[in-house]
Symmetry: C2
Subunit: 195 residues, 2 copies
Amino acid sequence: MAGVQKAKSEETHRRVLEAAIAAVEAGGMEAVNIRKIAADAGYSVGSVYKHFEDQDALLLAVNSVTLGRIKELMASKVETVDEPLARLKVLALAYLGFARDNRNLWMTLFSHQLPEGKAVPEWHIQENIALLGFIAAPLRELDPTMQDEDLAARTRTAFAAVHGLVTISLEARFVGLSGEKLEEEMNFLVERLAG
Amino acid sequence: MAGVQKAKSEETHRRVLEAAIAAVEAGGMEAVNIRKIAADAGYSVGSVYKHFEDQDALLLAVNSVTLGRIKELMASKVETVDEPLARLKVLALAYLGFARDNRNLWMTLFSHQLPEGKAVPEWHIQENIALLGFIAAPLRELDPTMQDEDLAARTRTAFAAVHGLVTISLEARFVGLSGEKLEEEMNFLVERLAG
DNA sequence: CTCAAAAGTGAACATTGTTCATTTTTCTTC
DNA sequence: GAAGAAAAATGAACAATGTTCACTTTTGAG
């Protein structure tokens, strides 16, 4: 009759996290209200704190899931294209597509900030850096002679540029480009940077 | 003996806004606590609300000042360089420099989000778009044959790419490039996009 | 069966954005 | 200058929400 505690603990963790993800999807970061999350998941407020140290930790967990989804999406795209430059374009468009289709998750991923003094945990930094691998590989293929250090810098630059275009396109403060035109600009950007 | 009301009103507005700017500079967006702002400015909470509809409006005012400073900085740089490509590089590095030197103001400018349903006021959108003019001009010089519509899109793309590089470099979640290497990448980015 | 540990609860507290009835100051009119 | 209206300023009170913790219930081990 052993294992009930473990199963219960895991289910609670999962259901709380799922409720938090659903809340973010529905209403963005601001919608993560501990009382609401607890009620949605079917527990009391106290139980949430048994599984997540505080609201920031919960949001970090949500962001970790989001990053996982992005990584999964990119992994599925990588296999479909051989030619390095074309692959980079597909990756960039996939990243853009994810942001468009999952606006709230994506914005939470990048706008949630830990309070001053609290450092981003190393495992989460690694999750982010892992994404860069998808970009580094084709860049390496395009220029095998590049030094490792330069490749690393160039990879970050390429990612950052694409990320910026996605960011600005979603910003209400700028009148973003929409639809096809945006995708054209994305292709232009990748071609100029990597071509 | 007239004009006292106007002067008082203006001074209160100014001092509240100054306190809010100081708070953001010192501790970021989260440091904007109405009670603290009121105390710092030397007024009661109620007075803050006589001049700013709510916290979002106050932050919007702070962001407007920040944008003004960025604009001023860019305007001062534009005059120093004739050659279009070099001017773009100077502008990009100035933008990066501002973000580094005014991290909290810069991050507040781009991470403060209005609650769902509240639209960014048109005057603030215009303030943002005004920045693009600095970029559009040299791009036009570099390619006078470009269609207006294409120039507008290319301008946004160039700005977005630079903005992305700045963003990522400030993100704790990524291990950003630092110092000289970052400036090298910025120059590379501008050259590839506009050169 | 008994007791310790883990899971779960929810009242209570602290912080903070916001409102509004009230007071104080300034302006206008006579 | 006096009186009333309008504006400026106040701060207590309310509501929402993150967090804690003493307590109850459930599970596991001996």
